[in-house]
Symmetry: C2
DNA sequence: GTCTATATGCGGATAGAC
DNA sequence: GTCTATCCGCATATAGAC
């Protein structure tokens, strides 16, 4: 499996460059140059650029699924915050995927079905999560509210970092320390539904993140 | 101004192709072929592909700004719904812009500042709009709530159509009749803040759009 | 496994005739 | 204004030597 460290180094360099500059802007030559190897050598390990992207996407699946499935025990608001935080971190580590969604799906059509499945799984997990909070009395929400909330949560975890570039200057490189802030932002979607002492936790977060 | 109809036809064909297949996937050759003219002729009217995109972006600005500035008189929930509907329609007509945000800003850096300004203007208008509804007693929201709501509204009008591709199969072509549904979706962000008889309007919309 | 060298095609952009 | 013909550069992908 680990026979050749080169294969792994190609994946790591590709992920970094894709994240920083976008998968459209990075050629196979560029990845090879970054590693100080020849394009021919890179081609020996990955026949096509698409093969690299697909391999990275599978890693993203493996990285994200535990985050969205480990939500069975969520009964408090800070559990949800942690879940969102982990989710944002995973998305941030593979942010090249959702960075240019349409381009990505057009260029790598083999990944469209997998992307749909992943998003659907995410929505279902978010619904279960919100329903759990409602059952625990943390929030007060109808079944329809829960559905909408779940969709808004997944929409936010998926597209928030992309949208951020339209409201603040582009982060130069590996900056993804704002997962916590993003999690707070997403959490405010539930804000108006929160009842009881869970409001205290919201106020604590608000004091921490607002200005 | 209208000396040559060709220039206008180039812009129209470009907009349509960019919207349908993405600005990255459409070459100048392709636009020329679509119109049945030569690449040389196209180059006579637009020296570069970037010039076409910039011209279309300016049209988008001219198309969107009236939608976001004509919100001074919003004092009822259905005024907001209409405003959102018009906003979504404008975004849909120029959906190639927000379709792949990072790619767009990377490829056409001259438009990054304008995009920022447009988004900022949109947020300010949304804040005024939510503040107006709060003042009119339609919603009950603190100043911080209003800020968050405005950001969520703009986030949604900007990125919702892009995200939709991850949860439902890709719309083949000029389908953008879902502006009304998108407006309803965005409106639910205000749902929990709504008080008084405005709730009736929300229930009316819910019956209309849910299932 | 890794290299050098190269084939092939496409997209952006231009020159110059009509 | 519109055409044909062409240059240039880049990206994908391959061939074959070491």
């Amino acid at each position: 499996m680990a026979g050749s460290g080169t294969r792994e180094r190609i994946l790591e360099a590709s992920l970094r460059l894709f994240n920083d500059e976008g998968v459209a802007a990075i050629s196979a030559h560029r990845v090879a140059a970054e590693l100080g190897i020849s394009p021919g050598n890179l081609h020996y390990h990955f026949k096509t650029k698409q093969a690299i992207v697909e391999r990275l996407f599978m890693r993203f699946e493996g990285r994200l699924v535990p985050c969205i499935d480990a939500t069975a025990s969520v009964t408090a608001l800070d559990d949800l915050w942690l879940s969102l935080h982990l989710n944002f971190e995973a998305v941030s580590e593979y942010r090249f995927i959702y960075r240019d969604i349409s381009y990505f799906l057009n260029e790598f059509p083999a990944l469209e079905a997998r992307s749909h499945a992943l998003t659907a799984r995410n929505v279902i997990a978010a619904e279960a999560l919100c329903a759990g909070l409602a059952a625990a009395g943390v929030i007060e929400a109808s079944a329809e509210d829960v559905q909408m909330l779940a969709l808004q949560l997944v929409f936010t975890t998926t597209c928030w970092f992309t949208f951020k570039r339209l409201i603040s200057p582009h982060q130069p490189a590996g900056r993804h320390a704002d997962a916590a802030l993003a999690a707070y932002y997403a959490l405010t979607l539930l804000g108006p539904y929160v009842v009881g002492e869970a409001r205290d936790y919201l106020n604590y977060l608000r004091a921490k993140y607002l200005r």
